[in-house]
């Protein structure tokens, strides 16, 4: 007797968000990228649709970051020029998106002016044709000056701008409304705040299909399981009709994995841990693999080798 596969039927699905805009749509991108739309738990192709493949964004910064030398090495020829760096990520490593962090806006890391940041954006827009994600330096006060100008400079491009937080979302939301961009809504590994922030942003009239959730991922060994279970619960919420949790999810894997001790300590310090060059890359790749399976939609990565490994994991999971 054949085994009958038990299938769940869900009443709803994850919303879709479109990133970027082509010439016809008022932008300059060669194509747009659509994320989300899943009508099942991650990759259960027998049960529902996974219409859009999860995508990889490669992170570039407008100043030389203090990343581990192992992670910076593949970019040593371009790391001082953010446009060239972005171009290499797309041409050589096949990045689906570029994640531009305007780190130099930080008052302590260069204090770049809003105008300078807008210029940086324009350079990167010229250098690559893929859709862009642009985030501020992480200094709320400064970012509230910088991001509206960045949003204006990128008007028409349908950027994904970040990051909005529960205590600082209004300026960025308004900038996204005025210049027609999408927004990253970040919560501190807390599903209730994630939902509330989406409601607050939506109450300012930014449509739900222009919000992407950043649940604040934890790296392997640093809370990955908490984020995993929150992402799982969000997905179940989305599938059962909780529209305020039905947005696609962005996972800033490179940033989180790059902070882990295991991705930075040399073999001289911990001989049992093995070669750092391989370990640092694997820490990022393994963290990403976990979140691919958790149902993330956009993965922000740094090292080309972990990009390749993550892409391979996605390939395998997308096979029906």
């Amino acid at each position: 007797m054949a085994v009958e596969v038990i299938k769940e039927r869900y009443s709803s699905k994850v919303g879709e968000v479109v990133l970027g805009a082509t010439k016809a749509e008022g932008g300059t991108r060669s194509h747009t990228v659509t994320v989300g739309g899943d009508s099942t738990l991650p990759f259960l192709h027998f049960e529902g649709e996974v219409p859009n493949r999860p995508v990889i964004a490669m992170e570039v910064q407008d100043r030389i970051p203090d990343w581990n030398p192992v992670v910076k090495k593949p970019f040593e020829d371009v790391i001082g020029d953010v446009a060239a760096w972005a171009e290499k990520c797309v041409k050589e490593y096949g990045a689906d998106l570029i994640y531009l962090k305007l780190a130099s806006a930080d008052p302590e890391l260069g204090d770049a002016s809003p105008e300078q940041c807008a210029e940086t954006l324009k350079k990167v827009l010229e250098a690559v044709e893929v859709p862009l994600i642009v985030v501020g330096s992480g200094n709320d006060e400064k970012d509230n000056e910088v991001m509206p100008q960045v949003a204006e400079a990128g008007a028409g491009e349908n950027l994904l701008l970040g990051v909005a937080k529960q205590d600082n979302y209004k300026t960025l939301t308004a900038a996204c409304m005025v210049h027609k961009h999408s927004i990253i809504a970040q919560s501190p590994i807390d599903i209730n705040i994630a939902k509330q922030l989406n409601i607050l942003i939506n109450e300012m009239n930014l449509p739900l299909d222009r919000i992407v959730i950043d649940p604040s991922v934890g790296a392997l060994g640093y809370g990955i399981e908490y984020t995993y279970s929150i992402m799982e619960r969000m997905r179940l919420g989305a599938l059962t009709g909780d529209t305020m949790l039905s947005m696609p999810i962005i996972c800033t894997v490179g940033h989180e994995a790059g902070r882990a001790k295991e991705a930075n300590a040399g073999a001289d310090e911990f001989p049992g841990w093995g070669d750092l060059a391989e370990r640092a890359v694997m820490w990022e790749a393994m963290t990403a693999a976990g979140f691919v399976q958790a149902g993330g939609h956009i993965f922000v990565l740094r090292h080309p080798r972990s990009v390749e490994l993550t892409r391979r994991a996605i390939d395998q999971l997308m096979k029906k």
Partner: protein, 264 residues
């Protein structure tokens, strides 16, 4: 949670008069108001005073459907009136109701099958309402068996354990809650459960408080649907809060607002 708006009932003076005089306005107003408040179904009851219940029911169905498109819950002990109403319903309706009384089951269940309607089965028979949960469940089981016999899908069956006014029949409420807990065990797929909420507070003081306290307890016991005053904000807030406590909806600070805006 399936909310059935109770307000279009000839027992209310404005509706009774509207039916008698053929005045559509109060029907339209209450239909729109209840749907706006989140009603999934609208209960239609011509009341005891209607001269021609069949004609009155058809009029109520047509008048209501002029302004809203939610499904209707046809509430009458006159099965000719229900049948006439079903013929005019645009969406599969809910028949309210039939007891575990063989001749009545034989009349109502084939009608439900013919029109694809759902049915509320009352946990009572010709002898009346049982005192305890065990006998209520026995009658519910008779209805489940009859539904199967007459090919009404069990997903379309609602069991009403019959709550009585708490000021005269206090010992019934715990039995009703126990019945709600056990109805899902009767069959697979299980029938749903429903209560006519305001019955619990008939002629009590603090009616609204009695209603919402009982509703919270019934939800904890697994209640699926209720015929209630959907325009009672505090009652709807109670449902939203119970759903949070029962972990059916994910909490956020705006959860009351989110629940009120559901489906919107």
């Amino acid at each position: 949670m399936i909310l059935i708006g109770e307000r279009i009932n000839g027992m209310f003076r404005d509706i009774g008069r509207a039916i008698k005089e053929g005045d559509k306005k109060p029907i339209h107003e209450w239909a729109e108001r209840q749907v706006k408040a989140g009603a999934d179904y609208l209960d239609l009851n011509v009341g005891p005073a209607a001269e021609d219940p069949v004609k009155a029911m058809v009029w109520l169905v047509e008048t209501t459907q002029e302004v809203v498109d939610v499904p209707l819950c046809l509430d009458s002990t006159n099965y000719d009136a229900i049948e006439a109403g079903l013929e005019h319903c645009k969406k599969p309706a809910l028949i309210n109701s039939v007891p575990a009384d063989r001749p009545k089951l034989e009349r109502v269940l084939p009608m439900a099958k013919k029109f694809g309607a759902s049915v509320i089965g009352l946990a009572m028979d010709a002898k009346g309402i049982p005192k305890n949960a065990e006998n209520r469940l026995a009658l519910a089981m008779e209805i489940v068996a009859a539904a199967t016999e007459f090919e009404v899908p069990l997903e379309d069956l609602f069991i009403d354990p019959l709550i009585l006014p708490v000021n005269v029949a206090q010992d019934h409420a715990p039995e009703v809650l126990e019945t709600l807990r056990q109805v899902p065990l009767l069959s697979n797929p299980a029938p749903k459960t429903v209560v006519g909420l305001s019955n619990v507070s008939q002629k009590c003081v603090n009616r609204s408080l009695v209603d919402r306290t009982f509703l919270a307890m019934a939800l904890a016991a697994g209640l699926d649907a209720a015929i209630l005053n959907v325009c009672d904000d505090e009652l709807i807030d109670t449902i939203a809060t119970a759903r949070i406590i029962l972990n059916k909806d994910i909490y956020c600070d705006s959860y009351l607002k989110v629940y009120k805006g559901r489906g919107a």
